[in-house]
């Protein structure tokens, strides 16, 4: 109880409130800008947290994540350009509503839906963290290896869409990047080619910035997007009967969002589509007819799920060290920079940190709700800035972000190479999320596989002994099922 009050006291200190308000304002603006994704915001603005305290960095990134996730819906509803890919279903339903003169109400519904979605995700996080931690503490090296392998396999299956094999190849490339540098067991240099810069391995922060910053800039500058004019906003706050009418849809979408968020690498881009699809299938009669022509049910489902993913994605991130989404991967990177190693022993090694995280999520959610309502009307014109102006302005931020963590010029070159790799993979329709997951989980998979092999060898364990470990066998079956599903079911 003392830890909870300590966390509340710290979150409401003037410094922390200033950090949260700035991050929410920045996140709303960033998310609303077409082409500037939530992940990009977190990857580039992580440089701002280098000199912050650990708690201030957590507050900043959580508030930024929360606000930019909602921000994506502003331009989606008003000008039919989704600020983030997760807001595509929001645009499909929100823009027709704007054309009918209900843009303000659509935006207001999106704000309330995001607010409720965040609550569902946060409550799920608070409830399930102790349960997962209790199970995770029983994991041995073999189970941890299988968990890392499953994370990459499921991420590849989900993000590879019709060709999961491309997702798995992407994950495999990420794992190989993680193998570069000196390995800890025998101090052997792998894939360093005699380079001192490569000896300590490749930090994943410049890779993240390259993949989700520079590659996005290249993508955006190579596309032609017609200029559109912002519409009038009108009434914003939705009436209470509307919230009541969509209560079940909200709860269902929130649970779906949390669940998809908890799956490694899946993230909001998948959850918003899944929830939208389910809402469409479940809609009846007149409501079903409205889908594609301006349906509040579709818009609410997408926004609730999108935001519930934040809490869901933090579940495996904080308890197992396996990021639930690309945004959570960046959050993990920021925590590592502050010497916070997440995983099963987080409550023991960093007492009070989880409570601070919970309170930060709640405060960021309230701030997002209030500031979104206040800033929408005056900010509408600002959200129509052209991407030809925005994208070149992002490039120096990529350089600052990559260089800032270690003041190492090599990291800038790693970021450039990652940006080019990311752009090439995007052009060849390979997903990027499994790649970054591979880079993050590479060391965990490698070390635990070898540890497990050594333990099995020392114990003289047979295949039967290995299969008699219940958690390991369940995980092995899940990994096999994931590959089976990707290979056979999608044909």
């Amino acid at each position: 109880m003392e830890a909870i009050w300590g966390a509340i006291g710290e979150v409401f200190s003037p410094h922390m409130v200033f950090v949260a308000v700035s991050a929410v304002a920045l996140g709303l603006f960033w998310g609303a800008m077409p082409g500037l994704t939530t992940v990009m915001a977190m990857a580039l603005l992580i440089s701002i947290t280098y000199k912050m305290s650990t708690n201030a960095a957590i507050m900043f990134l959580i508030a930024l994540h929360t606000a930019s996730t909602y921000g994506g819906s502003i331009t989606a509803v008003l000008i039919n350009i989704p600020g983030t890919p997760a807001s595509i279903p929001t645009a499909m339903e929100g823009y027709p509503l704007t054309k009918k003169g209900e843009g303000g109400l659509a935006l207001g519904s999106a704000i309330v839906a995001s607010f409720l979605g965040n609550w569902i995700g946060t409550i799920a996080l608070i409830i399930f963290v102790p349960m997962i931690l209790a199970i995770a503490l029983k994991f041995g090296a073999w189970e941890l290896f299988l968990l890392a392998l499953w994370g990459i396999a499921i991420s590849g299956t989900l993000t590879g869409k019709e060709k999961p094999i491309k997702g798995w190849i992407s994950g495999c490339l990420g794992l190989l990047i993680a193998m570069v540098g000196m390995e800890p067991m025998h101090a052997f240099y792998r894939f360093t080619f005699g380079s001192i810069a490569l000896a300590s391995g490749i930090s994943y922060l410049p890779i993240l910035i390259g993949l989700f910053g520079l590659a996005e800039v290249l993508k955006a500058l190579s596309m032609k997007v017609p200029e559109r004019i912002a519409e009038q906003v009108g009434r914003i706050i939705p009436p209470f009967y509307m919230i009541k009418k969509h209560l079940w849809n909200t709860l269902r979408s929130g649970m779906l969002g949390t669940l998809v968020g908890a799956i490694p690498g899946a993230g909001p881009n998948i959850s918003s589509f899944v929830a939208y699809d389910v809402a469409k299938r479940r809609a009846k009669g007149e409501e079903r007819e409205k889908f594609g022509k301006g349906s509040y049910a579709g818009l609410i489902a997408s926004e609730v799920a999108n935001n519930a993913t934040i809490g869901g994605s933090l579940l495996p991130t904080m308890t197992l060290g396996i990021p639930g989404s690309a945004g959570a991967a960046i959050f993990l990177g920021a925590l590592n920079l502050h010497a916070v190693v997440v995983g099963p022993s987080i409550q023991i090694e960093h007492p009070g940190l989880m409570y601070f995280l919970y309170v930060s999520l709640i405060v960021a959610n309230f701030l997002m709700y209030i500031m979104a309502l206040l800033l929408i009307k005056p900010g509408v014109k600002l959200f129509t800035i052209r991407r030809e102006l925005l994208m070149p302005l992002i490039v120096p931020l990529c350089a600052i972000g990559a260089y800032g963590a270690n003041q190492f010029s090599f990291d800038v070159y790693v970021m450039i190479a990652s940006g080019l790799l990311g752009f090439a993979l995007y052009k060849m329709k390979f997903p990027l999320a499994p790649l970054i997951l591979g880079v993050i989980l590479g060391d965990m998979a490698d070390e635990n596989l070898r540890k497990a092999m050594m333990i099995f060898q020392a114990d003289g364990a047979s295949v039967i002994d290995v299969l008699s470990r219940p958690v390991g066998t369940i995980l092995l079956a899940v990994v096999a099922l994931t590959f089976y599903d990707g290979i056979f079911r999608r044909r």
Partner: protein
């Protein structure tokens, strides 16, 4: 239900890229084979179970198998019959020119300018050049935006957050 099926088919068509799958399949098979060979040739001080090359070898072999499947998939879609067209289409696509322009400005900024000049000067030159190419507005507007953005970055990161910025001598 029919619409969902149509959407699924559309997605499948968009996901099809047999030409690039053909080339990537060949490249990755070769890459995976080299990785496996190199990893296999590394020392094994206490046997294969703890060898530094165990996991990279496993990854190399997996990469060979998966890229072979990708390659076979491309062949089944007859990618090998129209390779010249695929290369021609890729090079002549309308986004090639803006991509190359964006790439060149970024490379000049990060590899040349930041190594020769201070962060402020190189960022101002890059932004002025890139905005001139992409934004296509009057010169005075471009110069004002480039100078303001450079000043803002420098102030926020260098003076406010006390971060070392990339630039000459980085």
């Amino acid at each position: 239900m029919q619409k969902t099926e149509e959407a699924r088919e559309k997605l499948a068509r968009e996901e099809e890229s047999p030409g690039s799958d053909f080339f990537m399949g060949i490249f990755l098979m070769g890459f995976g084979a080299v990785v496996s060979y190199v990893a296999w040739s590394w020392p094994r001080p206490q046997g294969m179970t703890s060898a530094p090359g165990l996991f990279p070898f496993f990854l190399g072999v997996s990469l060979v198998l998966m890229s072979f499947a990708l390659f076979v998939g491309a062949i089944r879609k007859r990618a090998h019959l129209d390779l010249k067209k695929h290369v021609r289409d890729s090079l002549a696509s309308e986004d090639t020119k803006p991509t190359l322009l964006a790439l060149s400005t970024i490379l000049i900024y990060m590899i040349v300018l930041l190594n020769l000049l201070s962060f402020e000067l190189s960022t101002f030159i890059y932004l002025a050049g890139a905005l001139y190419i992409f934004w296509k507005q009057r010169l005075y507007k471009i110069l004002i935006v480039a100078a303001s953005a450079t000043a803002l970055y420098s102030f926020v990161f260098k003076f406010f957050f006390k971060l070392m910025l990339p630039g000459a001598g980085m």
